[in-house]
């Protein structure tokens, strides 16, 4: 009996920190009515030195267009493995893309920046459309993009 209790206590102690290391975060991106086709969007993270860390989402499933997401493409070499399992459809003008991801706590208040590159057929590419530091204080605060993104916010 005593050994079972000890085992339970140990597994609980090991499990709880694991659960606390990540949290659901909702990324909400609203596009303005730019009058073009659906936009390809790459959401990715860089560290405090500006180095690429990883991708969070890719809106747009055809890799042949990824070169237009030029900052993301330069950082990854267009490696589609970076966005396996986190890729969805491109987003039409005026629509809102809402993604909920289970993100590591270590991403926040540690100097990381979330970037969005955007591209639309027959329109200008927009690398670094959005760049927003990931902080707990910044959650829920909308920011405006340079060309296609009317607003972006992350909520925890």
């Amino acid at each position: 009996m005593k050994s079972i209790l000890a085992t339970l206590a140990l597994t609980t102690a090991l499990t709880i920190p694991g659960l606390a290391m990540a949290r659901p975060v909702t990324l909400t991106t609203t596009l303005n009515n730019y009058g073009g086709d659906g936009a390809y969007l790459a959401l990715y993270v860089t560290d405090a030195s500006g180095a690429y860390v990883g991708s969070l989402w890719m809106a747009g499933g055809k890799s042949k267009y990824y070169e237009h997401l030029s900052d993301w493409y330069r950082a990854t070499g267009g490696d589609t493995a970076q966005v396996n399992g986190i890729t969805g459809a491109s987003v039409d003008a005026g629509r809102t893309l809402e993604i909920t991801l289970d993100l590591a706590d270590a991403l926040f208040d540690a100097g990381y920046t979330l970037h969005i590159d955007a591209a639309v057929e027959d329109m200008r590419d927009s690398p670094n459309e959005v760049a927003v530091p990931l902080t707990t204080d910044g959650a829920g605060t909308p920011v405006t993009g340079r060309r296609y993104v009317a607003s972006f916010a992350y909520d925890m």
């Binding site: 659901p24 086709d37 993270v45 860390v53 890729t87 459809a89 027959d122």
Partner: protein
């Protein structure tokens, strides 16, 4: 008449005999190696790169060369569809859509719920 013709032929031959070697010498490479005259023409064609004129004034625009259709709701993500000839760049495959495989192990994701997405 015959004399004039002879003079013309002689002057042409003389010009060719003197002019061609002189021209060859002018075109000779710095290393001094003599080459057949025909090689000069080859060299000239190699030395002058083919320049393609383009009317594109900016280079960061999504152009016809990589056009896509209205494929927002198109979920075919393979490289072997038969719609056109530019399905995959350099043999790179399209990424796996969300929900078909786990997110990449890039340290950004926890092990909890899979990504949820909706477009409003």
């Amino acid at each position: 008449m015959k004399k004039t013709l002879t003079l013309l032929v002689a002057s042409t031959a003389l010009t060719a005999a003197i002019g061609v070697p002189a021209w060859s010498a002018m075109q000779a490479p710095a290393d001094g190696v003599l080459r057949p005259i025909a090689a000069l023409f080859d060299d000239a064609s190699q030395a002058m790169p083919l320049v393609l004129a383009s009317d594109d004034d900016d280079d960061d625009r999504w152009r016809d060369g990589s056009r896509r259709g209205h494929d927002d709701d198109d979920d075919d993500d393979d490289c072997d569809d038969d719609d056109d000839d530019d399905d995959c760049r350099g043999g790179a495959r399209n990424p796996a859509p969300a929900g078909t495989t786990a997110p990449p192990q890039n340290g950004l994701f926890g092990n909890g719920a899979p990504p949820q997405v909706q477009v409003n």
